[in-house]
Symmetry: C2
Subunit: 296 residues, 2 copies
């Protein structure tokens, strides 16, 4: 993977509005595996330097997404322990390490989904916002458990339509609503369920704009809110700055008017106090503590 192909891939990563944070993190590891295998380098030191640069470039492309930073940091640290006496060996072991990271991420996603499904149980009406690969796995796991789902369209790009299509494929009865109807419909649900782009050190949730509204509506209606995501979505202590990415205003499809600025901030922050439980591959957490261990 030469510099030009890598740069194209970074631009695609930056512009991707459909895939969630874990999926994009795995895509980054994939790009690093390809880079390890075939980026032009005259020796081990040069390759390691170039891989470190590409790592930093990928992290900077999506600063709101903790999984990218966490999985790439882990990979980057692992590189230091590899045998760097042979370029051929270094290329193949570095690529293998990236593939191992992808595998771990997928395993954590499935275990998180299993833990969430076990915790949710049968015969429930769930309400959710936006699209998350982890929640897709939860719904897939719950498909024969007599659940019903209320899905927001999730403006501006309506990724809720993609979720509705998957739920339809799985024969899960679904209601599709505008984001503005969240207040009305949350009161009809047994449980609100969100994925995460990141969890901050204080337990608050960074997720698609509108997640805070679902959390407030759930709190108002006495409906519990569960957040389900893999543990590598947690920002470690110290990673406190949280730039909320703003995307192209054109996505709103609003008329262009003098003095009117269309805004398109993609994420909002839901405080930990509004989250009843969060669930990862290790189990179910409440009040900041792991309260139920269900991971296998």
């Amino acid at each position: 993977m030469d510099a030009s192909a890598f740069e194209t891939a970074v631009q695609e990563l930056h512009a991707d509005r459909v895939r969630g944070a874990s999926e994009l993190a795995r895509r980054c590891l994939d790009l690093l595996a390809l880079s390890a295998q075939s980026a032009p380098a005259g020796g081990c030191a040069e390759l390691l330097q170039l891989l470190a640069q590409r790592c930093a470039r990928l992290v900077a492309a999506r600063p709101s997404m903790a999984p990218i930073e966490n999985l790439l940091d882990a990979w980057s640290n692992g590189l230091g322990h590899l045998d760097s006496s042979s370029l051929t060996v270094l290329r193949s072991t570095a690529a293998e390490l990236a593939r191992e990271g992808i595998w771990q991420s997928k395993r954590a996603l499935l275990r998180s989904a299993e833990n969430a499904a076990a915790q949710i149980g049968d015969d429930k009406t769930l309400i959710t916002h936006s699209l998350s690969s982890t929640l897709l796995a939860v719904f897939e796991r719950l498909q024969a458990r007599n659940i019903r789902v209320i899905v927001t369209e999730s403006r501006p790009l309506n990724e809720g339509h993609i979720l509705a299509r998957r739920l339809s494929d799985w024969n899960i009865p679904t209601q599709l609503i505008t984001d503005a109807q969240l207040g009305l419909f949350t009161a009809q649900a047994d449980l609100a369920l969100l994925g995460a782009d990141s969890l901050l050190p204080d337990g608050s949730l960074v997720n698609k704009a509108g997640s805070l509204l679902l959390a407030l509506a759930a709190n108002h209606s006495g409906v519990p809110l569960y957040v389900c995501c893999e543990s590598f979505k947690q920002r470690r202590t110290g990673q406190t700055q949280m730039p909320l990415e703003e995307m192209a205003a054109g996505e709103l499809g609003a008329p262009s008017l003098p003095g009117v600025r269309a805004r398109n901030i993609y994420f909002d922050i839901t405080p930990a106090s509004l989250i009843s439980r969060w669930i990862d591959e290790h189990g179910v957490h409440a009040d900041g503590k792991l309260s139920i261990t269900t991971g296998k």
Copy 2:
């Protein structure tokens, strides 16, 4: 106005998704003035019966909208006091009574807007949701008072675009956001401002779906919420049933999928506890009491 022309007008009223409750109430009075003048009737008793039927038909066309019921009830009661010895005189006095109702409604709107503008003051950032003729008058009144406005698009029909256009015409700096960004942007405002479709006897607000989300976000961020509307938007004691109108699912533009039902409920209910003040033509009310009298 014969039966067929009236029926067409009722269908238009039922389908109208752009005009607010007061504007539609005035449109109803206009239809009744035209009916009084020219509906086919052989005598006074027949005309009064027909006007009562048309009144009931108009009220039933938009059951969520208290102003239609209140203004039409007042007109209907007034009919009983008119001279019904001559069909010609009855036609013209009944039409005149309807026009007087329209005039009172407009006067109440302007006074409510004046009271709100006086209460809001200069140099504020306001956030609002949906479109209201009363709030348009408030913003018009505030246009030279150094205000800035954050406007939601207001799905599904994006009437926020109409509001943004008017604010642009008045040189009021405006940010246009998706409904989903309400949680983020409310924290940046000095004040949240809503119009009303109706106020219920317990002081809760019936307004465009999403209003409850703005109220919850305002409460969460410590931003006061003012509701500005004319007093005839209050449902009287006894009018407790509040059907929330559901409109065509097609307005969402969602894909048609087996097992997926698109929902399009137009209104939600915001409890009185989330409303800091409400303002009408008589003055400013807080805690259910008229606290400041500013009407002239």
